[in-house]
Amino acid sequence: MSATVTTGPEGLAHVAETAVPEQHRGGDRPHPARHALGLLLRIVLCLVFGLPLVFMVVSSFKPDLQIFDDLGSFKAFLPTGDISTANYTGVFGRVPFAQFMMNSVVITVVTVVLGIVVNSMAAFALSRIGFRGAGGVLGIILATLIVPFETLALPLLWWSNQLPFLGPDGISQGWLDTYQVQIIPFIANAFSIFLFYQYFDSIPKELDEAAKVDGAGWFRIYRSIVMPLSGPAIATVAILTFLPMWNQYLWPLMAVQTEELRPVMVGIDYFKQLNTSWGQIMAYATMITAPVLVLFVAFQRSFINSIASSGVKG
């Protein structure tokens, strides 16, 4: 990779900063009409993306019939009528919400943390150690990006059922209906390796040389030099791993049978009966969306940077 490769979000921000001439940064105010149009566009975009969330939260406090009665008017977005927390009470009576939530948190956090370690190590080996055939290995890893998960699901299910596992009760065969089947297949991730690789490649290799002179080995260089300099890449990988893991639906549906091991997304199916409880669906959706929204607000800057640097939406 050449030295012109982007240096991550921080680098991009720096480039953007220097590329903008000073006189355009607050000196000249835009034309009022243009400013108003821009503002209007932003308001419209806010409404388009925000109103569904408002509808979800507001509806979670309404009885089913009222949700449908309000649909034709703006009342659908207002907490009017017979407001109560009955739907939330109903959710707790219908699904083991705390259990599902804990499962999702465990599965997501463990996958994100192990994913950062494993993928960064793989990328480090490819980028810094420079063994023969590293380019080919990277090419093969990147090639797997074009294979959609749906095509791998059945073979993966078959393999998961054949694999042995060493646990406290000794060796058992078959991973189905366990936590590990929801975590381990998703730790190694070609896209995360690529992001780390790209970022590591932009860190000057002279640092490695200097560390080697001081007697550092490859692991020491990885742990004490490269990883501490890779905050933006770690944040990007963490966010891009977190979202799909939190939203896992198809795989747990196939690989998990016991209720105690199900993640939150599968739980939403509990409400889709012949007489669907729409208010409860909205309450459940609100509760499982809340952690993601809180995280988004807390890490808004990193999230936007991650999209900007990776060129994908999570």
Binding site: F68, E259, K272, W278
Partner: protein
């Protein structure tokens, strides 16, 4: 960006926490055995989230577990919406449970695929059941259900009276002309957003379950049931084309919305709809809203008599259960009339046996729900009993949706016939 000491500490802490957590997490697993070992029989049901039915099934299982000491049935509940995918995935990895429930029309396919074992020795018990609640294929019975449901036209007496529309009965249903005229009267009044709502927003099995009876009432069918070799003439003959043209006209004449609301029953209760075409599961809510004004009418006679889909959820045992005798023992125990009655009562559905119906309030002679049993006995037609049914159902759904959206009826039906015939043939007609 350089990591600050605090960030570094957080990262190291997270990593330290994650590793043991992952080890602990990975070792926690559920029982993935297919059951049958050591006297434990695993049972899967589609009722997660459906408290009433799950409680009724749990009560039967508890009774069974108390009644003997050789076997212990253990329930695992799955949400209905994703149940079939879970079963197919489990079958692929040979992890099916000993006892499981199945949506009726899928029984021939699952039996042919080797998922299900026949229920040997239950013939005498099951002879008292409604024929539509038994899952059969290749002259063997693979499943039985506690209840059936019926399709009905839900409306209010005051609506029909207001527009001078006759109240039809099972013995004298609306003719096609009467039905069309009634819808036009309701539309002309302008009182309703939807003169008729046939729930086009529903997905999956609803389309063949709800709309193929209309096709059959016209005189067509999904496939020629004589040998199940071809749909030629049944799904694309003159009667089928007539059905498709009429079906489309419901939308073009403004009698039916092209896309219903997410919950048509709620729209009916909210006064947006004049007549609702739906299942008997709407009875509780609509009666609660309109009391004795609520009417549950038979579907119209569109040519060959009213037709409704037959068959709901049923119970069977899996081929790979290591204790078939135990599973059969449970199935025999659970087939008692008192259990048919309790499940039907708790789910507000049509009891599968007359003896059970006599025990369920509303289904006794002259009871308010007796008409549902009457409709099920008189009008129910099983969906095609062939392992090719899931494919046929998907083709029919796609074709009916295309027709409602304006596709040429004859062309669309011809294409469906071509695809269905090719599938039947490529599978050796499931012999």
């Amino acid at each position: 960006m350089k990591l600050t000491p605090t960030t570094k500490r957080v990262a190291v802490g997270l990593l330290a926490a994650a590793l043991p957590l992952s080890m602990a997490a990975c070792t926690k697993g559920g029982s993935s055995s297919s059951g049958g070992a050591g006297g434990e029989l695993t049972m899967w049901t589609h009722n997660a989230g459906n408290k009433a039915e799950l409680a009724a099934i749990t009560a039967i299982v508890n009774d069974y577990n108390k009644s003997q000491s050789k076997y212990k049935v253990k329930i695992q509940a799955f949400p209905q919406d994703s149940y079939n995918q879970s079963v197919v995935a489990a079958a692929a990895s040979k992890k099916l449970p000993c006892i499981l429930d199945i949506d009726g029309p899928n029984v021939p396919n699952w039996a042919w695929a080797g998922y299900l074992a026949p229920l040997d020795g239950l013939d005498a018990t099951l002879s008292k059941y409604l024929p539509t609640v038994l899952g059969k294929w290749d002259n063997k019975t693979y499943s039985y259900g506690y209840y059936d449901v019926a399709l009905v036209m839900v409306t209010r007496k005051t609506i029909l009276d207001k527009y001078g529309i006759r109240v039809p009965t099972a013995d004298s249903p609306w003719t096609k002309d009467e039905f069309d005229a009634a819808l036009k009267k309701i539309k002309a009044s302008g009182d309703f957003q939807n003169p008729l709502d046939i729930a086009t927003s529903f997905t999956g099995e609803w389309w063949p379950y709800a709309y193929s009876p209309m096709l059959q009432s016209f005189g067509g069918d999904l496939i020629n049931r004589d040998g199940y070799k071809t749909a030629e003439g049944s799904l694309n003959g003159p009667k089928a084309v007539e059905w498709a043209t009429w079906f489309r006209s419901l939308v073009t004449d403004g009698l039916v919305p092209l896309k219903s609301g997410a919950d048509p029953a709620k729209d009916f209760i909210n006064g947006k709809t004049g007549i609702l075409y739906n299942g008997t599961w709407t009875a509780v809510d609509t009666r609660k809203a309109f009391g004795k004004d609520t009417l549950f009418l038979p579907p119209p006679d569109l040519g060959t008599g009213p037709k409704i889909g037959g068959g709901s959820w049923q119970w069977g045992i899996s081929q790979n259960c290591s204790d078939q005798a135990g599973a059969l023992d449970y199935m025999k125990f659970a087939a008692q009339d008192k259990y048919v009655a309790s499940v039907a009562r708790d789910t507000n559905n049509i009891p599968a046996t007359d003896a059970a119906a006599a025990q369920v309030k509303g289904y006794e002679k002259g009871g308010e729900n007796e008409i549902f049993l009457d409709y099920a006995k008189k009008f129910a037609l099983l969906r095609p009993v062939t392992p090719g049914y899931p494919f046929i159902a998907t083709e029919f759904t796609k074709t009916a949706q295309d027709i409602l959206n304006g596709a040429d009826p004859k062309q669309a039906l011809d294409q469906a016939v071509k695809n269905i015939d090719a599938n039947q043939k490529s599978n050796g007609y499931f012999q």
